[in-house]
Assembly symmetry: C2
Homo-oligomer: 376 residues x 2
């Protein structure tokens, strides 16, 4: 079963569709939980799936260092290794090299860095990043790119964007034929400069990728800047290919980006914030560690599809965090994963019936009203 | 439904029975997972239950300090608070005061200690320990006792044993009438001295408790000493009352103690060892962190009733521990909870058919053979 994308409905700029892969279908707009080291932190795969996730993200940087791409391949690939038989997307490792590795050096050839685990020097070329993802067996691989930290000079942003384009070509050459039926996405770069973004997108489209990502965002810029770049980019991207906004984001970011034509998202926020005591709910975010939850017998949301959100009291969840019980982080992570999946599922249903604007307005109204949030 | 115990079968000294409580039935020999702070560390209640646990242990010391017994009572009691509708046993807090609190002072009146959480001075009398457990709403409460660290002088062991007897009387007076349908167990003390143990047991039996615990063991003594004390004690205890060996133990300890007439056990070992990478299996303990598991595609036990033991490879579990992923500790905790529950379930079935000695021998043989343990 080769990779394919079918656009099923459009509602303004918002789109609903289906990505088909060798490991099953992904309905878009889709949210991908992040399984950094072959585990969505603190959450059992069965709960990730029950929350509604149809596709996971794995981090190439982490997996190539430990347990190692060749080892994962020998163990049957990432799906078998982690026992997730559904679709998997892997990033290229480039972003984590920039944020985690020491002594990194970017040349035309690729990036050389010192592993944060054992200090070994590691080379990650476009060809190696592609090979690693082929070994992992991901359904959707990403080209190696260079993300620059913002703010940066236009010349620096342009240099990295052009380098990323040349790497895109090399990744594509390395990927084709080697991974039949799977997909490699190009990544639009260009920082906060709409013209550079447009140039990057046009060049990638000319290379004809099966999908396009918008990279280098969600790195501290305002939502307005991010959405401006999304608009400038999606205007250039072909309708019939999926669009993936990397590393985004808050529920508000996701709603706004869906409204601007984005199909795929990934973010550590549901699990990271969950571990820190922040629950995403219909009533807006709730910090369960706040003292006023200590005597609150109400569940987080009696109408949630998530059993943990319905069945445990706020008082109990509060107690787990106050007591340092790891179950608290797990339960809030699960609750948040359900929330994110239901957010995009609601968007999909609304788009298919032409009511996305109403849906987004109703969701935002729920956050603003904060009724039943107990003062968050 | 008042507390009751029914002896269903005996096989040598080993016994199988049923404890009935207002929250349901407990089949004995029973293993109670420890929910120290109203959570079995790292494990969702649903998994604790699915493993086969019919009763949980809660720690009075922890719960009285946080979230507080009065708060738990106002929230509907411990069953409702933690959403465990099945039987709960609480200890009296005495053991943790000795092991965790600073500046503790034991007098005839009770024990005064400095909370390890906020430094507040707290008084725990026999009456308060009983009241706290009544507020928590546990199905089985324990008398306050004083455990002495071994080795200790006979005079010191005797002093603490006699004090514990006087406290037993006070707890019984405080408990009766206040908690109809629930049970308060007396705790046999007397250190490693069989005569003192016998004296303690006889005095408690004269007070007529609905069940008896053997306390102050599993504190570093040899298994031989522990079993000797168990034999000396159970010889004095009435057949028709349940017997609970507190804080025990390894699978080998449990098998041996069942063979000497013990009905109930609790221990943090399945979860604590699980968090540290040690899995209990039919083939003996397996340290999943050992390097030779890194490429092992086999599950821990393809025939286990536990899904995690069947479905995840040793290589993947090894990777989770090597990567510091909390899911590793959770999965091994669950695997170990299933193992412990299956161990006692097997004992129950064997006792009822008069084959306990064969069962225990077969289990020990599996550990010794270490076939399929992959070198543990």
């Amino acid at each position: 079963m080769p990779f394919s994308f079918r656009l099923a409905a459009a509602d303004g700029a918002a789109r609903a569709g289906e990505i088909d892969t060798a490991h099953g279908l992904v309905h878009t707009p889709a949210f991908m939980p992040v399984g950094t080291q072959a585990s969505v932190k603190g959450v059992h795969h069965d709960d990730v799936r029950a929350a509604g996730a149809e596709i996971l993200l794995g981090n190439t940087y982490h997996l190539m260092l430990r347990p190692g791409a060749e080892r994962v391949a020998a163990l049957g690939g990432l799906h078998a290794f982690m026992r997730w038989p559904h679709p998997i997307l892997t990033d290229s490792g480039g972003f984590q090299v920039m944020s985690l590795a020491a002594l990194r050096k970017v040349t035309e050839a690729g990036v050389t860095f010192r592993s944060h685990l054992d200090g070994a020097m590691v080379e990650l070329s476009p060809e190696r990043a592609t090979q690693v993802q082929i070994l992992l067996g991901s359904d959707i691989a990403m080209q190696l790119d260079e993300c620059v930290r913002l703010p940066a000079d236009r010349s620096e942003i342009e240099r990295a964007m052009l380098l990323s384009l040349r790497w895109a070509e090399r990744c594509k050459r390395a990927f084709e034929a080697a991974a039949p039926g799977r997909a490699l996405f190009g990544i639009v770069q260009g920082g906060d400069d709409p013209e550079l973004r447009e140039e990057s997108a046009r060049a990638l489209v000319a290379m004809d990728f099966p999908g396009y990502a918008v990279g280098g965002l969600a790195v501290g810029e305002t939502q307005e800047v991010m959405l401006g770049i999304v608009e400038a980019t999606t205007a250039v991207l072909p309708r019939e290919r999926p669009r993936y906004l990397m590393g985004v984001g808050t529920p508000a970011d996701i709603l706004a980006a869906i409204g601007r034509g984005i199909d795929m998202f990934d973010c550590v926020m549901p699990t990271r914030n969950g571990r820190h005591g922040l629950a995403f709910t219909r009533f807006g975010p709730i910090n369960i560690k706040n003292a006023h939850h200590a005597d609150d017998r109400r569940p987080l949301d009696a109408e949630s599809r998530c059993p943990a959100a319905r069945e445990f009291s706020r008082a109990y969840l509060h107690h787990l965090f106050r007591s340092g019980e790891v179950l608290g982080g797990t339960l809030l992570s699960v609750i948040n994963l359900y929330y994110y999946q239901d957010l995009v599922a609601g968007a999909r249903a609304a788009i298919r019936t032409g009511r996305f604007a109403d849906y987004a307005a109703a969701v935002r109204e729920g956050w603003a009203a904060k009724r039943d949030a107990g003062g968050a």
